[in-house]
Amino acid sequence: MFTEILGRVAVVIVFLLPISVVALVGRDRLSALRREWRDRLRVSWPIVTVLIAVLLLNRVMRWSARRITDRVGIHMTETFYGLEGEFILVFQSLEAPAVTTYFTLIYVYGYTFMLLFPVVAYFALSDTRPFRRLLAAYALNYAIGLVFYLVVIALGPRNVMPDVLGQTMLYDTSPEYQHLTREVNRATNVFPSLHTSLSATVAVFAYWTRDEYPRWAPVAVVLALSVWISTMYLGLHWAIDVLAGLVLAGVCVGLSQLLVGRWSVTDALERLDR
């Protein structure tokens, strides 16, 4: 079941990505990429390595770190629910089968596309800084998010108020997707919303690179807004998780600007060689 869903996502992405790359990135940049990809990778490999390491760590820790969570974890479901109550029901006013389908597609496919497209698009820029900063911001999002997941034990709205979310809860309307999300996340990891923080990160970068990719910027902003609303509409996150996700995105984007380009690993290695 899991592989089937994963396959479905992969097919959609494999279909969407080349089209959007050709349409939004343009042939000139792609042919430049074909000539220069080795040089660009030579500059960028340290951050690529860091990101892969963080993703692997994230995967291992979320499952095997129960002991840490048992010791330091704080139950926060009651606090979040106590603070915001049924606030996210404001999005339920949009409820309609077509809207549910839209947000479901956004949550699963739109989000995946949103994370992958800029990786390709920024690698196609001759200036590697946006690429390296984006990967750094991704790595920071996952790393900081993981710390919160270990410490905060919180269940999402769908687990607390199924009575009022019944029509739009993702796993009720599309149970197959629970197999996908179950592989990457646990029900008690809702704070902060990484869907929100990563999509916000992408949107900020899209705004910064609006001169290079003028058509991507509005697409990214619309996608990001849709992802934020989808997490609450589908009952997966509290508004607090989404707010925390936005704050996390701000921190990660800021740090990526501060850190990337400050030290050059390749220069340091070359100096060592001499």
Partner: protein, 705 residues
């Protein structure tokens, strides 16, 4: 918050406060209980604080019925002017908070009863004061009452009418004093591939003990011989696999049979472990299983209190998964260990957090268990034969495996109980392997070991919480299936224990280790499937879809009622009253929709130890806020029956007024029962006001009580 803000006056102003007090003083208060006197005084003291409660339950993923009942209660409590903190935690954490740490004032749970739980003796462990301070499944309510204890003991020690009368008085106590409030008894629904399984409709009538998987046969279509043992055929058992879907992930994380937060009912434990007896649904009583035969004899000599002695002959062909035979030593060890997991070596006894109610019938585990030979043992319990048999339903643990395990906790078993135990254990049966460290209790284990260093004869064994009864283990039992593989939150895979006594090739001179396992001569149900794979799928709709698509054979857990609308139309319904066509024929439907009423029930638990919930009048008022008719109709889609008392119908005393008669006979809902499930504030406040509880002029129930 549901009180009407429009009606709220500036209540913080001293003038308004005084006028309330004046009004209170002028009114002829209906002081019906002594408790009210303190309540009145607290108002005079300025009881400005709103009363607040913590209500605990489990998330939608774990039990949609429970969280929805909790939300319903939360809304009505708020309408009654009470501040509610709804605290939702994953099941194992919820149970830890409710059963061990007593963190909630109120909690919604499902009481784990199997078919054997149709006997009202389960009320003993639910309510006896001896468990009030202990951690574990027993008496989480903290109820202590001498008369109640006496009634519980009487029902255990007597048979016939005397017992019925004692049960009736316990039920009256529950109705009046409300240690908990029973809500409803759900119907369990499952979906099975009847083109692959033979007889699931029969087997799954009794559920929750593991016994339902025995006798479940592959159909001829998939290569089984369809269990036609009645015509004397002794076919080889095939190598068929059964893929079952489990909603609960806990068995994939922890398989310690004694871990109270990891178990509800015992299918997995029942498959891995044998017990001396097993519940026979057909005759409604417990019959020998690991025991070859037994005799229960009432002893009424010198002692004034009647006792029962069970003289048990064990099967000589039963063996544990590591090949060691099951002997009387293992049985004696099991009962002594469950009675005190520290085996007398801790300053105070440390009873296991599960099975304690049954084990409590053993007055002195040292003298009341007599091992006569390898296979003969006598157990004397403080109970009449009827209730005494419940002691035969605990899993029998291998003494040699646990001896080695306990050594890791600083407990040297030879000193502990002084029975000769062969400690020559296979390396691969070592249960204290790497997983042990996963548990939080590892530090307790260290603590135990450290103290043992100081004094080799004394260990610290924190009751219910120390490693041996909480940490995960590689389970070694003698049950019909043994563990081969599992992955956390993914699957648990069991394999047929070819040495099980129900199989012909078990032991004996003519057995050939190379041959396929065969059915035994006896009429025992056999583990017909070579492998049982329990795939964890926490989603009912997806489980239904997977069985319908042929991706799995059976939904092992009870499906949530809200998902039943997704049941395939061509699934043929099998219920307890359905005449089922057994045996393979061309008309065999592809899918079976199994339906069985469950003895287990949803209840609202009260933590009576402290706070407002310690007040019986308060509990009675809260119980009234549950609209059981609405709960059954809306949350359970009529797949449940509302109840007012926790026992099955046979045990409800005639004319007691405890039977559900369309409305709740004891705690009537103050609003329109079966309406919309939401009380208006005046209706919700009425049960509290009638009992003399005080409100401020903003409609908040005052926090002093």
């Amino acid at each position: 918050m549901n009180w009407n803000p429009a009606s709220a006056s500036p209540s913080d102003e001293p003038v308004a406060r005084r006028s309330v007090l004046a009004a209170a003083a002028a009114l002829p208060l209906s002081v019906s209980t002594s408790g009210c006197v303190t309540r009145v005084r607290s108002v005079v003291d300025d009881g400005g604080e709103q009363l607040s409660l913590r209500l605990g339950t489990v998330p939608t993923d774990d039990d949609r019925g429970a969280i929805r009942i909790a939300r319903h209660l939360e809304s009505n409590l708020e309408a009654a002017g009470i501040d509610v903190a709804l605290d939702v935690r994953p099941t194992s954490e919820f149970l830890e908070a409710a059963l061990f740490d007593h963190e909630f004032d109120l909690f919604i749970d499902r009481y784990p009863l199997t078919d054997a739980g149709r006997d009202p003796d389960f009320l003993y462990e639910a309510l006896h004061s001896q468990f009030a301070t202990a951690a574990g499944r027993q008496n989480p309510f903290g109820i202590t009452d001498v008369d109640l204890d006496r009634a519980l003991e009487t029902q255990r020690r007597t048979d016939g009418t005397t017992r019925r009368e004692a049960v009736a008085s316990v039920l009256e106590y529950v109705a009046e004093r409300k240690p908990f409030e029973p809500i409803c008894r759900p119907t369990e629904h499952r979906l099975a591939r009847t083109d692959r399984l033979d007889g699931p409709g029969d087997r799954f009538l009794g559920t929750g003990t593991g016994a339902e998987y025995l006798g479940l046969e592959p159909t001829a279509e998939v290569g089984g011989d369809s269990g036609n043992t009645t015509d004397g055929e002794r076919g080889d058992l095939g190598d068929e696999h059964l893929e079952a879907l489990l909603l609960d992930s806990r068995p994939s994380r922890n398989l310690n049979p004694l871990a109270a937060t990891m178990r509800n009912r015992d299918s997995m434990v029942g498959l891995l472990y044998d017990s001396l007896g097993t519940f026979d649904r057909e005759h409604g009583k417990i019959r020998p299983w690991l025991a070859a035969s037994w005799e229960w004899q009432r002893e009424e000599n010198e002692a004034s209190e009647p006792r029962t002695t069970a003289r048990i002959s064990l099967r000589d062909d039963a063996s544990f998964h590591d090949g060691e035979p099951v002997t009387a030593t293992d049985v004696a060890f099991t009962y002594r260990f469950l009675a005190d997991t520290a085996l007398g070596r801790a300053p105070v006894d440390s009873p296991a957090p599960r099975y304690a109610g049954r084990i409590a019938a053993l007055e002195d585990p040292e003298t009341d268990i007599e091992v006569h030979s390898e296979t003969d043992i006598a157990i004397t319990v403080a109970a009449a034969p009827e209730a005494a048999r419940r002691i035969a339903t605990v899993p029998i643990l291998p003494a040699h495996v646990w001896a080695e395990r306990l050594e890791g906790y600083g407990l040297d078993i030879d000193i502990g109980i002084g029975i000769g135990i062969d400690t020559d254990v296979d390396a691969d049966s070592d249960p204290s392997g790497t997983r042990e460290g996963d548990a939080t209790e590892a530090e307790d284990a260290n603590g135990a070991a450290n103290e043992a260093d100081e004094d080799p004869d004394v260990i610290s064994a924190r009751q219910g919480r120390w490693g041996p009864v909480t940490a995960d283990i590689d389970p070694v039992g003698s049950g019909p299936y043994r563990l081969v593989d599992r992955a956390e939150r993914d699957h648990v895979t069991l394999e047929r224990h070819d040495g099980h006594f129900s199989l012909a090739s078990a032991t004996g001179p003519e057995s050939d280790p190379e041959s396929e396992p065969r059915r035994g001569d006896s009429n025992l149900p056999v583990p017909a499937f070579a492998e049982l794979r329990f795939d964890i799928d926490p989603n009912s709709p997806s489980s239904i879809e997977r069985v319908a698509d042929g991706d799995a054979d059976l939904t092992a857990s009870m499906l949530e009622p809200a998902a039943l609308e997704r049941m395939p139309d061509d699934a043929v319904r099998f219920g307890p009253d359905t005449d089922q066509a057994t045996g393979p024929n061309d008309d065999t439907p592809a899918l079976g929709h199994l339906e069985v009423p469950s003895p287990s029930f949803y209840y609202l638990g009260f933590n009576t130890r402290e706070g407002p919930v310690g007040n019986v009048h308060f509990r009675n008022a809260v119980a009234q806020l549950l609209d059981k008719a609405w709960i059954v109709e809306t949350i359970f889609r009529n797949e449940a029956e509302p109840i007012a008392t926790p026992v099955v119908d046979d045990w409800i005393p005639d004319g007691s007024g405890l039977a559900w008669d369309g409305t709740d006979p004891i705690s009537p809902y103050p609003g329109d029962a079966g309406g919309n499930g939401r009380l208006e504030s005046p209706d919700a406040r009425a049960p509290f006001e009638e009992r003399g509880f005080q409100y401020d002029d903003a409609g908040r129930l005052l926090g002093r009580y």
